[in-house]
């Protein structure tokens, strides 16, 4: 009796936290989605009204398209850029300390507070002659100042998120590349492979599992997080960078349509589930966990 009791006792504070801050809110969100709660904060069940509203929402096509652009673009940037960084810092820079320094540099955006980081971005792309990019392009190219943030809003949002997110892929890919035994690279060189061939035919195929992991992980976090967009553009100009999660937030906490916001969030969660399952299928998850990858 004592033997199983103690571990549970030790776990219980954590368990209580999980229940309080994850399980209960999730439950409430699901409930909310079926109410038409507004600023009056009344629980009034309304059946599927909110879901009907979603599919007739005139903003929906724009929001979905923005979400696709944002998630797809950032994911692509994260994975590709993260891989390039990992490759440079672990394989091509064999000197250990330089590699670590290089990687630490890319961790900076991740450890700096989002507000500070976004301020840097805002300053860099600021309109008028005092924005850094405008100042630089005036000096070197002699062109007029531009309002980058309104003209290239989505691109800047993707870049800002990408620079933060790339370090995640970089860390995962770095350790995966280091896990490849040195003898494999030596064998490839003896077998006549160029550095490019080693990258393409040895390293890249062995990154299938980490790429899947990073993609799924990032996909989920990109679908649900919006703090950088909120701070950078607030979803604007107009609805140019308004993605699904931000839209749900805006409807709930700015428009005080809590019921509708919750329904939007719920649909997003199921979309995330579906996309994750799709990706696992795409990457042939079952075969991967069965066969040993590197021995």
């Amino acid at each position: 009796m004592k033997r199983w009791f103690l571990p549970y006792l030790m776990l219980s504070p954590f368990l209580i936290l999980v229940v309080m801050f994850y399980v209960i809110p999730a439950f409430i969100t699901v409930m909310l989605a079926f109410t038409d709660m507004n600023y009056a904060m009344e629980w009034r069940f309304a059946g599927l009204v909110n879901f009907e509203k979603i599919f007739t929402d005139p903003f929906l096509p724009v929001i979905v398209w923005n979400t696709c652009k944002y998630v797809g673009g950032t994911l692509f940037f994260n994975v590709v850029f993260g891989f390039v960084l990992a490759l440079l810092s672990t394989y091509y820079i064999q000197h250990e300390k330089s590699g670590i320094f290089f990687r630490a540099l890319w961790m900076l955006p991740r450890i700096s507070p989002p507000v500070v980081y976004v301020l840097l971005f805002l300053w860099f792309f600021a309109p008028g002659q005092y924005g850094l990019l405008n100042a630089l392009s005036a000096i070197f190219l002699g062109v007029e100042p531009q309002n980058w943030l309104s003209e290239y809003a989505m691109l800047i949002v993707i870049l800002a998120n990408g620079f933060v997110g790339a370090s995640f892929g970089m860390i995962i890919f770095s350790s995966a590349i280091r896990a490849i035994p040195q003898d494999i690279f030596r064998a490839a060189k003896v077998d006549g492979a160029t550095e490019f061939a080693i990258t393409k035919e040895i390293i890249l195929p062995l990154m299938k599992w980490p790429v899947m992991f990073v993609s799924v992980w990032q996909l989920l976090s990109l679908l649900t997080s919006f703090e950088y967009i909120l701070l950078l553009t607030g979803g604007g100009p107009f609805l140019d960078t308004e993605v699904w999660s931000l839209y749900s937030y805006h409807r709930a906490f700015v428009g005080f349509e809590f019921g509708y916001g919750a329904a939007l969030a719920l649909v997003m969660v199921f979309t995330a589930f579906f996309l994750t399952a799709l990706m696992l299928k795409l990457f042939d998850f079952n075969r991967m966990i069965k066969s040993s990858r590197i021995d």
């Binding site: 035994p181 030596r186 064998a187 003896v190 077998d191 195929p205 299938k208 021995d295």
Partner: protein, 360 residues
């Protein structure tokens, strides 16, 4: 293609791993680099492969200095101790990989890969992944991959050390057969003296970054140049007895507290060695048990080890322990004290200080 090391040194962080190595390998020859772990065997092999650059000296392939050639410019095949198969490629793709790098058209490279696979009896496993193969099969894939591009030089880094004894014997024969059949110059690295002796035409014994002796196996065994080689070759190791070389009357003798050994006239060493501390080296099969004290060494029985047909006797001569091979029959009725009569042709005298064999 013959290969020559000319005063080749290799240092890691200012620490010499190979110390001005000189070595010549004939075209088509099978040589072994033999030595204890950490003596620089792999380093030497990697320099041949072009994976390490020598710190000093030159390596010649034929008449060309290859120090600055990349591995892919050397046309070599190499088998690694870990096999280093590409885990994401099938057996056939693994074997065809070197040809793919040479841009051989797909059809032809698969045909050639299959041919080589047949040579090492892998034809049934072509579509498997490396992780689905046993150690012996993986090793054969590694060998096939090394052979497929018809290399001028084949490098084998402890290829047999992960196999069990039975498989090891099979693979040794296979590799020897392939090497003779294809007439490829081959360098085998191993710490297993038996393997080196069985497989190689000549064996280079490496210790502390230097070549101790480079000779055919039977010469290493019967004419070791120094203590290290004598000790390293043979199982059980050679017996050593410490004593002092002196002249008694007109006879040259090695004396110790409990025994003496007299040289015959024709076996006598040059005068200049008189007075030296020496070690007598005698192999276990070159000591015979006798009850007569004349010209023999007094011994006390310590233990018997039965090996089947033969028995190893452990005995003490003075303070030094020795091993002797005897037949089962003799071992069974052995008294506690007896004499050991050395076969005079098999007695070596080593300078205790320098380790040099004075009797060669």
């Amino acid at each position: 293609m013959n290969i020559k090391f000319n005063n080749v040194s290799k240092a890691f962080n200012n620490q010499l791993a190979i110390d001005s190595l000189n070595l010549e390998i004939e075209n088509g020859e099978f040589i072994a680099l033999l030595g204890p772990s950490g003596c620089g065997k792999s380093t030497t092999l990697m320099m041949l492969a072009g994976l390490y650059k020598p710190t000093a000296g030159e390596i010649y392939f034929g008449s060309v200095v290859v120090n600055d050639l990349e591995p892919k410019e050397r046309n070599i095949g190499m088998v690694f101790q870990s096999y280093a198969l590409y885990p994401h490629l099938t057996v056939l793709e693994n074997i065809a990989f070197p040809l793919k790098q040479q841009k051989v058209p797909k059809k032809e490279r698969l045909r050639r890969a299959e041919e080589v696979a047949e040579l090492v009896h892998l034809q049934e496993f072509l579509q498997r992944w490396p992780s689905q193969l046993s150690g012996g099969q993986q090793q054969r894939v590694a060998i096939a991959r090394a052979l497929v591009k018809k290399p001028d030089l084949l490098l084998l880094d402890e290829p047999m050390s992960n196999l069990d004894t039975r498989l090891k014997n099979n693979m040794r024969n296979e590799v020897c057969r392939l090497q003779k059949q294809l007439k490829i110059t081959t360098v085998l690295v191993t710490h297993d003296q038996e393997e080196a002796m069985i497989m190689a035409d000549r064996v280079a014994i490496l210790d502390a970054g230097k070549i101790q002796q480079f000779d055919p196996p039977e010469k290493l065994f019967n004419k070791p140049k120094n203590l290290f080689v004598a000790h390293f070759m043979g199982n059980p190791p050679m017996n050593f007895l410490e004593g002092r070389l002196v002249n008694e009357g007109n006879q040259q003798v090695v004396v110790a507290d409990d025994w003496r050994y007299a040289f015959t006239k024709e076996k006598a060493l040059p005068e200049k060695y008189t007075g030296k501390q020496v070690k007598l080296g005698i192999r276990a099969h070159q000591l015979a048990i006798t009850q007569e004290s004349k010209d023999a060494l007094p011994a006390k029985l310590l233990a018997l080890e039965y090996l089947g047909r033969e028995v190893i006797i452990r005995a003490a001569i003075g303070k030094q322990n020795v091993c002797v091979f005897v037949e089962n029959m003799v071992a069974n009725n052995l008294p506690e004290h007896f004499y050991l009569y050395p076969d005079r042709a098999g007695v070596h005298v080593f300078d205790e200080e320098t380790g040099e064999n004075l009797s060669l």
